[in-house]
C-alpha cells in the first residue's frame, strides 16, 4: 500500500514534520502580510496627524477631518483585512488537505 503524506504526519516522521512546518510557515507569512497592512496604516495614522495639523481645519460632516479619519474609516479597514485573511487562510488549509490526502 502506498504511503500518503497523511501517514507520515500521523506517525510523526521527519517527512511529516516537514509538511507541517511548511504549512505553519505559510500561515505565518499570511498573518505577517495582514499585520503589515494593518500596522502600516494604523501605525502611520498618529504620525500623519501629528505632521499634518492642517487636517484639523478641513471639515467633513461638520467635524474636523482629523477626528473623522480616526473615528470611523479604520474599522472598515479592519473588517476588510479580516475578511481577506480568513479566505486566504482557509484556502491554505484546503491546499494542505489536497496535498496530504490526494483525492
Amino acid at each position: 500500500m502506498r504511503r500518503t503524506p497523511r501517514d507520515e504526519l500521523a506517525e510523526a516522521t521527519a517527512h511529516g514534520g516537514l509538511y507541517l512546518r511548511r504549512l505553519i510557515r505559510a500561515q505565518v507569512s499570511l498573518s505577517a502580510v495582514a499585520l503589515v497592512a494593518f500596522g502600516g496604516v494604523i501605525g502611520a495614522l498618529p504620525l500623519a496627524l501629528l505632521l499634518l495639523p492642517g487636517l484639523q481645519d478641513v471639515y467633513v460632516l461638520g467635524l474636523p477631518l482629523s477626528i473623522v479619519i480616526i473615528a470611523w474609516p479604520p474599522f472598515v479597514l479592519f473588517i476588510a483585512i479580516a475578511v481577506l485573511y480568513e479566505r486566504r487562510a482557509e484556502a491554505l488549509e484546503q491546499s494542505f488537505r489536497d496535498l496530504v490526502e490526494p483525492p
Binding site: R6, L20, A34, F38, I42, P46, S66, I70, A82
Partner: protein, 573 residues
C-alpha cells in the same frame, strides 16, 4: 423612576436567565455539546456582549470629554485586538482545545509551575478589569438615584458574585448575545435621537475653536456632595449656596460642599487632574506639546490594546463554543463587524458632553457623561426615557463583563490554585462557589478607594498587563516550537513585574517629563518587548531536554478532517 425600573429589569433578566441557564448548562461538557448548534453570528454577538464593558459604554466618551480626541484611539485599539486574535490565535487555540490560558500553558509546555504562574496573572488582570466595572456601577446608580457611590459598587459586586456562585452566566451564549444588542441599542438610539433633536452638533466654536467650556446662557448650578479642589482658567464671579465669591484667573480653590452657581458664559472651573483646553487643543487626536494625547501614549495604548485583548481571561473561554478552527475564525471576523457598529456611537456623547454638560469638568466625573447627557440635552419625558435606556445599557455592560471576569476568577482560584488532588464534582462546585464569593471582595474594596481614577485608565492597565504576559505566551507557544517552560515562566514574571512596576511608580510619582508620564500611565511599549525578549532568550539558552512540541503543533495547525489533531478537544471537568 423610569431609570430605576429599567436597571431593575436588566438586572432581573440577567439573574433570571442565569438561574434558568444553570439547568441548561450543568457542566462544561454540556456546554461543549450545546455549542455544536450555535452559529458564528450568535457566538460573535456573545463575545462582543461580554467584551463591551464599562470602559466602552461609559469610559470612551468620558475620557474623550476629559482629554479630548486622543481618547478616540481607545475604540480603535479595543477592536484591533480582535484582528490580532484572528491572525495569530483564534483557530490554533480552538483546535488545541484549551479552555483557559492556564490550560494552554500546562498542555503546551508540560509544566504545572507555569500553570500556577499563569493563574496569578489571570487574577491580576481580572482585578484591574473588575475595578472599573464596579466603579461604573457606583457612578451610574449615583447618577440615576442619587445613592452614595458605595451602594452601586457593593450592590453590583454582590449580585455578580451570587450570580456566578449559583452557576449562572456560565457559558450562556444567548444571554451574552442578548446583552450585546441591549448595549448597542442603548447607546445608538439616544445618540441618533439627540443628534436629530439638536439638529446636528451645536456650538462648534466651543468644540473645535478657541473657547474653553462655558456655563450656558442661563447660568449653571452644580451640587457638590464633598469639597472639591478646582482651578479657574479665567477670572469669574461665582456663588456658594447663594453667597457671592470671586476667583482670579489660574486660581486654585477648594470649593465647599453645597450648590455652586456660575453666571451665564463664565468659563467652567476644572477639577484636579483635568486640564482646561480650548476647543482646538481638545479636538487634536495627537498632541506633541505634552498633553494627555502625546505620541508615546497613543502608540503605547494602541500596542497594549492590540496585543492585550487576546490575553483577557474572559475572552478566550468564549472561543471554546466554536465547533472548530475555521468556525473560530469566522466568529472573529463577525466580532470585528459588531464592535465597529457599537463603537460608531460613543464619540457622539463625548462631543456633545463638552457643550451640554460642562458641569462634569467641575465635579471631575466626566465618566458619567453618557448617563447625564440625555436629560441635559432633552429636558422632559423624552430625555428621561433616553436616560433610563442608557442607564440600563450601562448596567448590561457591568453585569456581563463583571460576570465573565468573575467566572474566570472563581475558576482560576478553585481549579488552578486550590490544593489539587482527587476532588469530586460536588467538592469542586463548592470550591467554585466559595471562590466566587471570596474573589469579589478585593475588587470591591479597590473600587471603593479608586473613585478618582478614570475607567479607561484602569482598563488600560489590564490591557497592558495582558499584553506583556499572555500575549507573548500565546504567540510564542502557538508559533514557535522552541519555547520552553522555563522561558515562558521567566517571560511571564518579567512582563508582569515591568508592567505593574511602572504603573505603580506612575501612581506614586506626580508630574515629571511628559514622555515619562506617558510611559508610566501606559507602559506596554516598554513591558511587551521585555517579556518577549525574556521568553525568547531564556528558551534559547535552556539546555534541558525539551518536551517534543510536534504533537502540540500538529494539534494546533493541522486542518480539520484529516484525523491528525485532537479533533475531540481535551475536556476538563
Amino acid at each position: 423612576m423610569i431609570a430605576i425600573a429599567a436597571i431593575a429589569a436588566v438586572t432581573g433578566a440577567t439573574l433570571g436567565l442565569g438561574i434558568y441557564g444553570v439547568r441548561l448548562a450543568r457542566t462544561t461538557s454540556d456546554l461543549f455539546v450545546a455549542s455544536r448548534a450555535i452559529t458564528p453570528w450568535w457566538n460573535a454577538a456573545a463575545i462582543s456582549g461580554e467584551y463591551l464593558s464599562a470602559a466602552s459604554f461609559l469610559g470612551i466618551a468620558g475620557l474623550q470629554m476629559k482629554i479630548g480626541s486622543g481618547a478616540l484611539w481607545l475604540p480603535l485599539g479595543f477592536t484591533a485586538g480582535y484582528l490580532a486574535l484572528l491572525l495569530f490565535v483564534a483557530a490554533p487555540l480552538r483546535r488545541f482545545g484549551a479552555y483557559t490560558i492556564s490550560d494552554f500553558a500546562e498542555a503546551r509546555l508540560g509544566s504545572a509551575r507555569v500553570r500556577v504562574l499563569a493563574a496569578f496573572v489571570v487574577l491580576g488582570i481580572a482585578g484591574f478589569y473588575l475595578v472599573p466595572q464596579l466603579k461604573g456601577a457606583g457612578l451610574t446608580l449615583g447618577e440615576v438615584t442619587g445613592a452614595p457611590y458605595w451602594v452601586g459598587v457593593v450592590a453590583v459586586g454582590a449580585v455578580v458574585a451570587l450570580n456566578v456562585a449559583s452557576g449562572g452566566m456560565r457559558g450562556i451564549t444567548y444571554v451574552q448575545a442578548f446583552q450585546y444588542w441591549t448595549k448597542t441599542f442603548a447607546i445608538a438610539l439616544p445618540a441618533c435621537l439627540l443628534l436629530i433633536h439638536l439638529g446636528g452638533l451645536p456650538e462648534r466654536a466651543a468644540m473645535f475653536g478657541q473657547e474653553l467650556p462655558q456655563a450656558p446662557a442661563a447660568g449653571l448650578a452644580v451640587e457638590l456632595d464633598a469639597p472639591q479642589q478646582v482651578t479657574f482658567p479665567e477670572a469669574t464671579s461665582y456663588t456658594v449656596d447663594g453667597a457671592p465669591a470671586q476667583a482670579e484667573a489660574g486660581e486654585e480653590i477648594v470649593l465647599p460642599a453645597g450648590t455652586i452657581g456660575l453666571p451665564g458664559g463664565a468659563v467652567v472651573p476644572v477639577a484636579e487632574g483635568i486640564d482646561a483646553q480650548t476647543g482646538e487643543e481638545w479636538a487634536r487626536p495627537v498632541d506633541s506639546s505634552g498633553g494627555d494625547a502625546s505620541p508615546v501614549f497613543v502608540y503605547s495604548l494602541l500596542l497594549a490594546t492590540f496585543l492585550g485583548t487576546m490575553g483577557l481571561p474572559h475572552i478566550l473561554v468564549r472561543f471554546y463554543t466554536n465547533p472548530d478552527g475555521p468556525a473560530a475564525r469566522r466568529t472573529t471576523v463577525r466580532v470585528l463587524g459588531l464592535l465597529a457598529l457599537f463603537y460608531a456611537f460613543p464619540i457622539v456623547y463625548g462631543l456633545l458632553g463638552r457643550v451640554l454638560v460642562p458641569e462634569l469638568y467641575l465635579t471631575g466625573e466626566t465618566d458619567s457623561v453618557v448617563l447625564a447627557l440625555p436629560e441635559a440635552a432633552w429636558p422632559g419625558l423624552g430625555g428621561e426615557i433616553l436616560g433610563a435606556l442608557v442607564a440600563a445599557g450601562a448596567f448590561a455592560a457591568f453585569m456581563s463583563t463583571a460576570s465573565g471576569l468573575m467566572v474566570s476568577v472563581a475558576g482560576t482560584i478553585s481549579f488552578d490554585l486550590w490544593r489539587r488532588g482527587h476532588a469530586d464534582m460536588t467538592v469542586r462546585r463548592r470550591r467554585f462557589r466559595v471562590a466566587a464569593l471570596g474573589g469579589v471582595l478585593a475588587p470591591v474594596a479597590l473600587a471603593l478607594v479608586a473613585r478618582g481614577l478614570d475607567i479607561s485608565v484602569l482598563v488600560g492597565w489590564a490591557f497592558a498587563l495582558a499584553a506583556s504576559t499572555f500575549c507573548p505566551l500565546l504567540l510564542l507557544g502557538i508559533w514557535w516550537e522552541r519555547l520552553t517552560a522555563r522561558g515562558a515562566a521567566t517571560g511571564l514574571v518579567a512582563g508582569a513585574v515591568t508592567a505593574t512596576g511602572l504603573i505603580f511608580a506612575g501612581l506614586a510619582m506626580e508630574g515629571g517629563h511628559p514622555t515619562v508620564d506617558a510611559l508610566l500611565t501606559q507602559p506596554a511599549v516598554l513591558s511587551v518587548p521585555v517579556a518577549f525578549a525574556a521568553m525568547v532568550l531564556v528558551s534559547l539558552s535552556d539546555k534541558r531536554r525539551r518536551e517534543p512540541a510536534e504533537a502540540a503543533l500538529l494539534a494546533m495547525h493541522a486542518p480539520e478532517g484529516l484525523g491528525l489533531g485532537y479533533e475531540e478537544p481535551l475536556v476538563r471537568a
